[in-house]
Amino acid sequence: MRVSGTFLALIGIFFGIIGLIYWFTAYEDAGFLMLIGSAFLGMLPGGYYLWWSRRMRPLEGDRPDATPSSGAGVIDSFPGSSIWPFLLGMGALFATLTFIFGLWLAPIAAALGLSAVIGGIVESRRGGTV
């Protein structure tokens, strides 16, 4: 956590500095905004990690002396299979096609997208294939 946080924070600081230099040398707003955006992209999660790294037990992956047995236990729940990402992806595909070829495709997109969203939520709540 500490290394990851430092790493993100450093990215943020770097872009902050570059962004300021850019603003005061180039006076160009688009690039400045994007650089400052990148600075926040680094600093926000980086700061969050650093804040937490002082308040929690280090992850097993961050302890140099951890062994597989010291990390025994549940890692997490992983879905074995799920059809909803496929339907959601196709829904997104049809949604973009709607923008190009007209509204007649919108019902297909909506049907696919809605079913995938509902199905996905139900699946993750029940913890199984729906």
């Binding site: 040398t25 180039a26 006076y27 160009e28």
Partner: protein, 320 residues
């Protein structure tokens, strides 16, 4: 900028002539005499120059800006060949020297801080040197004669040309002389498109605009290209050093006939240039399409007054 010190054309003889073969050179006999005389005196110089600035396939430049660019290019290429060549040889040596010949396990070393610092530090120095020369050249190439200097200049007046790029052709306006030349893709590629006639030995200030999409103004022998950006007025100077025919072409994809968007530059002596202007006016190639008279003050193509907000940083470039 040395815009005014560069008034006289460089003699043809002691320059490399591979860059642009001129269709309108002096009579052959005179030319050979000059060549011979020039060679006798300048051969060691030229050879020396060639060795110091090998061309590596590039044009040596037919403008002072292009020549500066060429020197930078050549120097950087030499550096690149040395550094890249040494690195390549080092890789080859390592591969051949440490090719697996037995199954013994090599020593498992995995770092050496002094060496790592060394090969971080040396590239930094090389890069710093390259950047230094880049900035020097960049300031020369990018320098333009300011408006005030143009008005007060004597002896070597600045030639203003407004270049308008459009799909798919070029228009060259000479606002001070009310001459306009244009041509487009219908001219056929074999004619090299419209021709921009310019004097050598004088500063030419090109104002580059676009009517529709982005085009690229590029003349190979000038070692220079610049976008014609809609909504932006780009200004640059050219100091052509010798007579010649220089083909140019649009480099930025601009639609269907991008490949055919050719033009050419013909550099002539200032006297020939003046007579060309007169003949153009006589044959009616005047600026019909430009509403305002060319003598308007301030001149309509001054980049200081006419640049939009986005162009502002451009005027600051070079001032790190």
């Amino acid at each position: 900028m040395n815009a005014f010190t560069n008034g006289s054309p460089t003699p043809l003889s002691d320059r490399d002539r591979t860059a642009a073969d001129t269709p309108e050179t002096p009579a052959a006999g005179r030319r050979w005499k000059r060549w011979a005389a020039g060679l006798a005196v300048a051969a060691p110089l030229v050879l020396g120059g060639c060795n110091f600035y090998p061309s590596y396939g590039a044009s040596r430049g037919s403008t002072t800006q292009g020549q500066d660019t060429f020197k930078l290019y050549s120097g950087m290429m030499t550096t690149g060949i040395i550094v890249g060549g040494l690195t390549g040889l080092l890789i080859l040596y390592t591969i051949l020297r440490y090719k697996r010949r037995s199954e013994t396990m090599p020593k498992q070393f995995h770092e050496s801080i002094p060496i790592e610092i060394l090969y971080t530090g040396i590239p930094v120095l090389i890069v710093a040197a390259l950047f230094f020369f880049t900035v020097i050249t960049e300031n020369k190439v990018d320098a333009t004669v300011p408006f005030a200097a143009k008005v007060t200049s004597t002896g070597s007046p600045v030639v203003d040309v407004k270049v308008t790029a459009f799909q798919w052709g070029w228009r060259f306006d000479y606002p001070n002389d009310n001459v306009s030349v244009s041509g487009d893709v219908t001219n056929g590629p074999q004619n090299h498109g419209p021709q921009m006639v310019l004097p050598y030995g004088q500063t030419v200030q090109v104002t580059l605009v676009s009517n529709d999409v982005i085009h690229g103004f590029y003349v190979r022998d000038f070692n220079f290209s610049r976008y014609a950006l809609p909504g932006v007025v780009n200004v640059f100077d050219l100091n052509i050093v010798r007579a010649g025919f220089y083909p140019g072409q649009c480099t930025q994809i601009c639609g269907l006939y991008h490949s055919e968007m050719l033009f050419s530059v013909r550099a002539v002596s200032p006297a020939q240039y003046q007579s060309w202007l007169q003949s153009e006016v006589a044959s009616g190639h005047t600026m019909k399409r430009t509403p305002e008279p060319a003598t308007n003050t301030p001149p309509p193509y001054d980049h200081v007054t006419h640049s939009n907000a986005l162009a502002a940083p451009a005027s600051k470039k070079g001032s790190l």
